[in-house]
Subunit: 249 residues, 2 copies
DNA sequence: GCGAACGAGTGGTCAGACCAATAGTCGTTC
DNA sequence: GAACGACTATTGGTCTGACCACTCGTTCGC
């Protein structure tokens, strides 16, 4: 038989440590979170402590933490420590961004996905948003009207408005998904927003969405959001065309 | 003077290397992908090569690749190499899973998010799914009927059906989002599926969704999907209750 | 010809050291 | 006494070099 190797001891006894060190670290932190022994904002043990306690090298600890960091679960600050990410849940949009680059997601596809998500979210938001939440939306709409001559500022409030609508759904899962997709298009549009032509129309659309939500008209809110996204997609196409024209010159 | 110290040359000449090594590695790979010099399935240069070419340590290269791996952009196989992830684009569901644990997403919230996504997807799928795509759905439905007495197998085909519907939308962004959320609930339900009572009803619902999509009836497909998810949510609640009862005994 | 053994190459882990940023401590100064 | 500033222990970030575990193409033996 030779007993040449393979995994030493697997079936019985000592059921642990079958997994590679990096995975053990991720699982360890994960269990701490799921067991509510680590809450958002909490500081993790230092890398050196984790390495000692788990009997792995610090390199493996760092490897695991690097994964968690990429997923947006923790955040490390040199000299201070590693902390559980707090604030509103939000998948880092970087993953989707890279996948977008990798598979060449088109703007049409992005807008369509946004449409499916945000139209539904607008409906839910109309049914549930609190007064405070609708007030936030109102503020962003006002800021948009105030920034009609400053495209970059306008865009910032645009994104914040959509975030506020998502928050109004009071569903953190949906809010995280909306955040992810809208951030992505934000990155994209930031480079072309200077060529936007009709910000007033866009602001007006946002105002109509806000009014529908505030009045609790779910279907009206859904329709307005759908219409808004349709126009926004057209606007982006126009801006792209202008950018392409200029590039050719 | 001693000349010990600090970063040699920063202001002028050699304008690069401002960013930390790990970020440089991520950016480097990202540029390779965005410049289409790396396609899905391609093999990356070895870690030692990257380290040499970029003039950073292998540890930093590994750090960057670890991030990309956590995002599902690349995948490393010991002894073979590191490859750009191919296959259908799919965010690793692990990020959402950890966020779910971290913020305590409830089943209701998950189902609601699924509802918003998949109802919309069902409508799009009815409008666009190819014959091959609907055929895949039909196969999964058939497999579900064949597995009425085997809950675990049933559940596998259940998930695959929803994946097939998402594929039918022909929108990779939506497909990735659906994949992420449904995988999450799959993990959850796998532990309670044994207590399911009425798989036949569930299979029948899936069949109705399939028929609506095949016939191109978008609104019917949306309604059927919404109804299905509503029933599935109830079923999960019942299974949970049973599990809780048994646990108490 | 074909399977088994080999070995170069690759990612995974370990060890120890040093660098860089942080945050608390303690003294100085006004 | 309060505010400011240098000092220092602590912590994450990087580097180095070594070894391990696995993969896969090659080569050897039958």
């Amino acid at each position: 038989m030779r007993a040449t190797r393979r995994n030493p001891a697997r079936a019985s006894a000592s059921a642990r440590s079958a997994a590679p060190p990096t995975d053990r670290v991720v699982g360890h932190i994960r269990r701490l979170i799921e067991g509510h022994r680590l809450k958002p904002g909490d500081r993790l043990p230092t890398e050196r402590e984790l390495a000692r306690d788990m009997k792995v090298s610090r390199a493996s600890v760092r490897s695991g933490l690097q994964s968690l960091s990429a997923m947006g679960v923790v955040r490390s600050r040199q000299g201070a420590g590693t902390f559980i990410q707090d604030g509103p849940p939000s998948l880092d949009s970087q993953p989707l961004g890279l996948l977008a680059a990798l598979h060449g997601f088109s703007s049409e596809e992005m807008f369509e996905a946004r449409g499916v998500l945000e139209v539904g979210v607008a409906g839910l938001s109309a049914q549930r948003a609190s007064g405070e939440q609708t007030a936030t939306m109102a503020e962003e709409v006002a800021s948009m009207f105030a920034a009609l001559n400053d495209p970059h500022t306008f865009l910032v409030h645009d994104v914040r408005f959509h975030r506020a609508v998502a928050a109004g759904s009071n569903n953190p899962v949906l809010a995280a998904l909306v955040e992810m997709t809208s951030t992505l298009l934000f990155e994209r549009r930031r480079t072309t927003i200077e060529r936007a032509r009709d910000l007033r129309e866009s602001a007006e659309m946002h105002r109509r969405i806000y009014l529908a939500i505030r009045r609790g008209h779910a279907e009206t809110a859904r329709t307005a959001m759908a219409e808004h996204l349709r126009l926004a997609e057209e606007a982006l196409a126009v801006e792209d065309a202008l950018a392409a024209t200029r590039a050719a010159a």
